[in-house]
Amino acid sequence: MPRVVVDVMLKPEILDPQGQAVANALPRLGVSDVASVRIGRRIEIEFTGEPDLDRAREIADKLLANPVIEDFTVRVVETDEPVDARQ
């Protein structure tokens, strides 16, 4: 069953203290070449019928993201295809 993946990220100008906390922890792992970390949210939606990107966009705009502070993208992924987390 194909799914719609919604990625929600804080807008670039909004401070992300969680991401900063993670970035600040990285030197403790011996990682010193990371300039910044930002944390978002990934939501997977399965429709009862065909995946509907317009509908997903509406859901994202009204509920999944807060357009005041967040941007989102929507895309369809096939279930049998490995989900590309590398972008």
Binding site: E13, I14, L15, P17, Q18, L63, L64, N66, V68, I69
Partner: protein
């Protein structure tokens, strides 16, 4: 006639009991409203209390905004019904677009729980007319996601229109832009505040009685309001 002030209970509300008690101490009749029922039972004003509605899932206030009771409240607020959102209630008002901006994770990531001095800057709203402009009040603050953010144009407009209702004094507990603790809508009937006036209405339990002013304000407003 005693004013009737509705207090909404969402799943996960914590301060609905204290809010109802503050309403009673101020001299009004609290009316408990349920998130799942659209009826407002003819109340004269509404308080959205603090807590963690719907577990704060997704974003604070994001799911509560779609509760049946909120659809009625949003319509009524646009028609002038006084609505006070405290803490989680403030978050819900922003999510419902009754107030601009958003509340985000405290900048230092710590939950802050302390008594906080505020300066009342807008004493003309339905919920602050018992105060003097510039008056300092002491009210508990307790939040993890109380950092108020909005784009610079929105912040400038809030300031220019006198819609910053209260600012933090003596240290900003959450990183809110321009030290904003409370704002109002254009009409002044909807107010969102991050600290908790309902916890400062009795000497036994609060750091002051300063919170009572928010609740007596709305009674004053209702008496003066045209029918």
């Amino acid at each position: 006639m005693t004013a009737r002030v509705g207090v909404v209970t969402f799943p996960g509300s914590l301060d609905d009991g204290d809010a109802a008690r503050a309403v009673r101490i101020a001299g009004a009749e609290p009316v408990r409203l349920w998130h799942g029922a659209p009826q407002l039972h003819g109340v004269d004003a509404v308080v959205l209390p603090g807590g963690f509605s719907y577990g704060d899932y997704l974003r604070c206030g994001a799911i509560a905004r779609f509760a049946p009771v909120m659809e009625t409240i949003v319509d009524a607020a646009r028609g002038g019904l006084p609505v006070l959102g405290i803490c989680n209630g403030f978050q819900i008002l922003c999510e419902a677009h009754l107030l601009p901006g958003a509340l985000t994770r405290n900048q230092h990531l710590h939950f802050r729980n302390r008594d906080q001095i505020l300066r009342i800057e807008a004493a003309g709203t339905a919920w602050t007319n018992a105060f003097q402009p510039g008056q300092e009040v002491l009210i508990p603050v307790k939040n993890g996601e109380g950092c108020y953010v909005a784009d610079p144009a929105t912040l400038d407009r809030l300031e220019a229109e006198g819609r910053v209702v209260a600012r933090y004094l003596g240290g900003n507990p959450n990183g809110s832009q321009r030290d904003i603790a409370a704002i109002t809508n254009e009409a002044g009937n909807v107010v969102g505040i991050m600290p908790h006036p309902e916890h400062a209405v009795e000497a036994l339990t609060g750091p002051s009685l300063d919170g009572l002013g928010f609740f007596t304000s709305v009674l004053k407003h209702l008496v003066g309001a045209p029918a």
